[in-house]
């Protein structure tokens, strides 16, 4: 059970803007286990990206600042590590992939150079072995004619190919943990499926731990082992895929699952979650979801719900399940 390789405890990341303090991540705790794919799900502004960036201390500062908590990696708190130590870990032990492949590749270097860069930096390989390794990585993520394509510049790659190249670069040092921030959002349907295939293979064949961040429940259902639903900078519900999809407990999770259009039938009327996503500046005192919740009770307005255990690893932050 306790084979967690990354433990996040009470992480708090705030953004100090001129309008006020945005509590983007406000006390989030979870574990990432060996060889699992953990999905962080939520809508824009729920704090999922800020959480991921905080793990490697990549939050832009200012305005962002990690206010508290711990990120334990092999007994070491990454939030307390030195910059040099962190640079050894970034890209080497913990790699990251971003949403927009367009802006994550440097347009003035060839794709091959950019895949080789972390190899030479962290593995200290020479030009030739680095090249060999880059070639095999590119083949692994499904870039055809890798030898040829190494010499291409990013603008000569399509969106899907760029994302493959980004994954190749992230895998270059055989990281233990892969953090992927919406890696398929900018891609087309058929390409998205191809990229997800790669992630599935990584998990199964390399026993890699993946923290996968997305807003799309369809994506989640296909690859997640466990899911964390975030809302307003906090965890609303967490559990196994089946817990979340078959036995959801939080009204927000209900809303999310209900408001998706489906292929199988045309619904007479969609059931959206009413209201708007709240501002995280001066959030309400009680439950952040309270203004949009149909099941709210007086207690919801007064006190923030703590996380109640439903069964095993299924937890929910809602007074309905106290």
């Amino acid at each position: 059970m306790n084979n967690a390789i990354l433990q996040i405890n009470e992480l708090k990341t705030y953004f100090f803007t001129r309008l006020g303090v945005v509590k983007a991540v406000d006390g989030v705790s979870f574990d990432l286990r060996k060889g699992e794919c953990l999905c962080l799900v939520g809508e824009s502004g729920c704090g999922k990206t800020a959480t991921a960036l905080s793990i490697l201390r990549l939050v832009d500062s200012p305005p962002g600042r990690i206010m508290g908590g711990a990120v334990m990696y092999h007994g070491e708190d990454l939030l307390q590590s030195t910059g040099a130590r962190l640079r050894q870990i970034r890209g080497n032990r913990i790699a990251m992939i971003f949403q927009d492949p367009q802006s994550s590749l440097n347009p003035v270097f060839t794709v091959g150079d950019q895949i080789m860069e972390p190899i030479r930096l962290h593995l200290k390989l020479g030009q030739r072995p680095a090249r060999e390794r880059a070639l095999s990585l590119m083949a692994q993520v499904g870039i055809p004619q890798a030898k040829e394509r190494m010499k291409y510049y990013p603008h000569q790659f399509s969106g899907g190919m760029k994302q493959r190249a980004m994954i190749a670069a992230a895998l270059s040092c055989d990281p233990e943990i892969l953090i992927a921030d919406e890696p398929t959002t900018a891609l087309d349907t058929t390409i998205k499926a191809q990229i997800l295939d790669i992630f599935r293979d990584l998990k199964q064949q390399k026993d890699m731990s993946i923290l996968f961040i997305t807003h799309d429940l369809g994506t989640v259902a296909g690859i997640a082992d466990r899911i964390i639903v975030m809302y307003g900078g906090r965890i609303a519900e967490a559990g196994s895929v089946l817990d979340i999809f078959d036995r959801p407990k939080h009204p927000y999770t209900w809303g999310l699952l209900n408001c998706l259009p489906t292929i199988s039938e045309r619904r007479e009327k969609m059931t959206p979650i009413p209201g708007v996503i709240p501002s995280l500046i001066d959030p309400p005192q009680g439950c952040i979801f309270y203004p949009r919740c149909q099941w709210h009770m007086p207690v919801c307005q007064e006190k923030r719900p703590e996380e109640f255990v439903i069964s095993g690893e299924h937890i929910v932050a809602c007074y309905l399940h106290k």
């Binding site: 899907g160 997800l196 259009p261 045309r266």
Partner: protein, 322 residues
């Protein structure tokens, strides 16, 4: 027989590619390459396809916001292909557009009220007082508050901005609305709100929509009939349920199988579709899909299949059904 509101015959939209100082014309991007279909009064025709398939160009050429290269557009038995600017102004009162990016589709220096009322001003509808009343009515209809009229776009959320875009399109009482990816920039919970609004408006105002999207589930929620586009051409056109339950074209089949359902019990299928979309500058000969088609035959490489009616109203362009 249904009454056709808009009919398109063999529409083409090429964008010239120029090179050198003298802007020599070297090639064409064949964004829309011979497309024919019709939209009946009060129906929603969904247009689905991956990025770069020409669906947005088609939507714009249809309303002559961009000049079509060739082909015919017939609106209510009038050939509008050759209409003058003055005549087009009349068309603008009948056919409107909703845009993808709510941020960039509103002039940041105009209030919401002014944006909604702009069309009335352009067409000289009513007195100032009547126009203000109409704006108030439109605000209410799309679910905005009266106070929003004097706000600026930056003060509104994404969903509210998209509601503004819809109200603006409705101002002139159009019969046809081209909606170009109206929900793809929105969060899922808001997306459902907007989809409901779009279908409600259709019922109340007997609008016809051309609903352009890349997301099959979204398209399926609103459409009566669906056209699938690939590299500038329609490969399949059928009623919603026909298309979803009996897709005939291999591309449609691939698209449907690549849809990620929010259901963890769904067995994981590898997408049958390898490779990427070829360039629309130099599309493949014969069937445009033959480079990726899992059921490719020799004839596909030579002859371009025509869109033909199979049974009922199911149209497909594929040699498998010759």
């Amino acid at each position: 027989m249904v009454s056709k509101l808009l009919e398109v015959e063999n529409l083409r939209k090429y964008y010239p590619v120029t090179a050198g100082l003298l802007a020599r014309h070297v090639a064409d991007v064949k964004a829309v390459d011979g497309v024919s279909f019709f939209i009946a009064e009060g129906e929603t025709l969904g247009l689905v396809g991956e990025s770069g398939c020409g669906k947005s160009s088609l939507g714009r050429a249809l309303l002559r916001l961009e000049e079509p290269t060739s082909g015919q557009i017939i609106y209510r038995e009038n050939d509008i292909t050759s209409w003058s600017k003055q005549q087009l102004k009349e068309l603008r009162r009948e056919a409107q557009m909703i845009f993808q990016d709510p941020q960039s589709s509103l002039d940041p220096r105009m209030t919401i009220g002014d944006s909604i009322g702009e069309a009335l001003l352009i067409h000289g509808v009513g007195t100032e007082k009547e126009r203000l009343e109409r704006v108030a009515e439109l605000l209410q209809r799309v679910g905005l508050e009266q106070g929003h009229a004097t706000r600026y776009p930056h003060e509104l959320s994404g969903g509210q901005k998209q509601r503004t875009g819809i109200a603006r399109a409705l101002a002139v009482n159009p019969k046809l609305i081209v909606a170009d990816e109206p929900v793809s920039a929105l969060d899922v919970s808001v997306q459902a709100q907007i989809l409901n609004l779009i279908t409600d408006l259709q019922r109340e105002l007997s609008l016809a929509y051309l609903f352009i999207a890349h997301d099959l589930a979204v398209i399926g929620q609103v459409s009566n009939r669906i056209a699938v586009m690939y590299l500038g051409q329609i490969v399949e056109l059928a009623g919603r349920d026909d298309l979803f339950h009996q897709p005939l074209h291999p591309y449609t089949q691939a698209l449907l199988s690549a849809v990620l359902l929010p259901d963890p019990h769904q067995p994981w299928k590898r997408t049958p579709l390898p490779g990427e979309v070829p360039s629309p500058i130099d599309p493949p000969t014969g069937c445009r899909f033959h480079t990726r088609c899992p059921r490719v035959m020799p004839v596909c490489r030579q002859e371009m299949p025509e869109l033909r009616q199979l049974d009922g109203n199911h149209l497909v362009a594929c040699h498998l059904y010759d």
